[in-house]
Amino acid sequence: MQIEEKLSILSGSAKYDVSCSSSDSQRSESFGSLGSTYKSGICHAFSADGRCISLLKILFTNQCIYDCAYCINRSSNDIKRAAFTPKEIAELTVNFYKRNYIEGLFLSSGIISSEAHTMHLLLKTLKLLRHEYGFNGYIHVKLIPGAPEELIVAVSKLADRVSSNIELPSEKSLVLLAPEKSRTKVFEPLEIAKNHSMEQGKTPIGMSTQMIIGATPESDFEILRLSSALYKKALLKRVYYSAYIPVNNHINLPALLTPPPLLREHRLYQADWLMRFYHFRYDEILDTQNAFLDERFDSKLAWALRNLHFFPIEINRADKETLLRVPGLGIRSVHKILYVRRQKRLSLRDLENMKIPLKRARYFITVDGVIAAREMRGYERLESRLLALEKPLPHFQPTLFDQLQSISGEI
């Protein structure tokens, strides 16, 4: 098989994994002379769906002995299979890197003959890249649950980030759709990698996981609770959410051609962001009564509307944490405000000159005691006013073409 055909099959299979970022590398030692890692990550290209391309994202192989119901690579599917050699991957990575197409490699794989054998092939590829080619760029590897500990440790030593996808947000769904997997099994390699780097007294290697959204009935509340627990344990740096695109017919899965819940995915990312950077707790964002995120508003605005007693906030006095809770004010705006506030008292005019986005925020702040939305006296009809500001979101339809592609293609 020609290399181009392999690339086409094995990148097509990897594309649904959303963790593409090359940021957060904290590796201190260097492996060779070709390349560097850049602390905030670089998007080298943007594909037709508008997503960032930072890494050469491929599967080692799409052959698999497992039979996960949501995956196109499941063993019972009749599709074209391919596998790279370690050398082919190394050549591709280095040549793409030198041309400034990518920041590095994202390597994942189906299970070929056994977990140990698969992990071994990935390790061989990494060794080749790091030691023979002197490649010092970014590498993210999927760990294979069930592979022996020493292989997992060896791979983690050569990578910038490792991950293992939980895929389904509850144990019940896993049993139903991916009987060979379990939550413990999926996280086991991550625990191993973490413990190992702790023993060495190093900063733990960056780790992430992915959850498929909309394939199974879990609520956003359950999903955020799980993410929050994972962040708390400091096991993971990122949880990625991926709107499910049906690729197989299965009684326990949405029918083929069901549109992927992209808006829901988008709202989950916003809520996740609130937890990681704005110090919101998951049970502030949602609770058992409101178990799903409001699709009409972003998660912060939705929270504000349910907590109007918190507002309005005085822009000349509020502290950083409080300012961050104002809908429409991001980290940057808040820093700008704090910065200028040291020099002078802010007027509405100043905020406008500083290009602080006030479209939504003005309903929630006062400037020297006067509410910034001058036409407002109380909070009646606020929701409809804000709703009028929202842009209609584009509607997505899956095409038949999507069924030919795999959903996840890795462990």
Partner: protein, 245 residues
């Protein structure tokens, strides 16, 4: 009176120093050679290294390093008005350095925006630059960035390719940054030959295009999102958008 300088940072700093010496400010600032009306009252500014060194010393001493850097970044924004605003900005800062913190002042805000535009172009250019590998192994890239970011690009690529040789060629401004594996320098380019590529070059470009098309998810196709991240003006020299001939 219109003051005309050679377009370089040194030239501009001489102009600023001149404004202090003559205790005047120009009505307009123009780069030499540019379209100047015959009837304009002109003053030619010749770069004087001594004035430049002295002014730089004062600026470095008095200004917050953040603002000092901002002056250099904003200068590269290639906007016809920026020199005038910068002159004002420098004079303001040297009078009272603390005034520059007030970003609600229109000119101070404008200089901040100029810097931001330059840095965002820089960030994009560092990401979107595409090298081709020449017969002798040199990496060669063409670009036409909307702002003059070449002087800021060396740092990133020297780190990335510390053991390679590379050339970054700004076709729009006729400049090339050359790194020979040890040191780097920017040269004006008047004429150049079409370079010879290594044998595999076409092959890898083709593989990249293949990957680029494969990785997009059909049900999420969103050209306007793609355009806002990778604006058309950057695409001219990006391998994945280039038409095959």
């Amino acid at each position: 009176m219109v003051w005309v300088y050679d377009g370089s940072m040194e030239g501009f700093l001489t102009l600023v120093a001149r404004s202090y010496l003559t205790k005047t400010v120009p009505e307009k600032i123009s780069k030499y050679p540019s379209k100047i009306s015959l009837f304009d009252d002109l003053m030619q500014i010749q770069t004087e290294d001594e004035l430049v060194t002295k002014l730089l010393g004062t600026m470095q001493q008095r200004l917050d390093p953040l603002f000092y850097r901002r002056i250099f970044h904003a200068f590269l924004c290639d906007d016809c008005e920026v020199e005038y605003k910068l002159l004002f900005y420098i004079r303001l800062g040297l009078k009272d350095p603390s005034l520059l913190y007030d970003i609600s002042h229109p000119i101070i805000h404008a200089i901040g925006s100029c810097e931001k535009m330059v840095l965002s172009t820089l960030h994009r250019m560092n990401a979107f630059l595409r090298f081709e590998i020449l017969q002798d192994g040199t990496l060669y890239a063409k670009m036409e960035p909307p702002r003059n970011v070449l002087p800021l690009m060396g740092k990133h690529f020297c780190k990335r390719f510390s053991n390679e040789r590379f050339i970054i060629h700004d076709l729009k401004r006729g400049l090339a940054l050359v790194y020979d594996g040890r040191s780097m320098q920017i040269y004006p380019v008047v004429e150049y030959d079409i370079p010879r590529h290594m044998e595999d070059e076409r092959h890898y470009q083709q593989l990249w295009r293949c990957f680029f098309h494969q990785i997009a998810i059909e049900s999420r196709i969103n050209p306007s999102l793609q355009k806002s991240h990778a604006p058309l003006k950057y695409r001219l020299w990006m391998t994945e958008f280039m038409q095959l001939v």
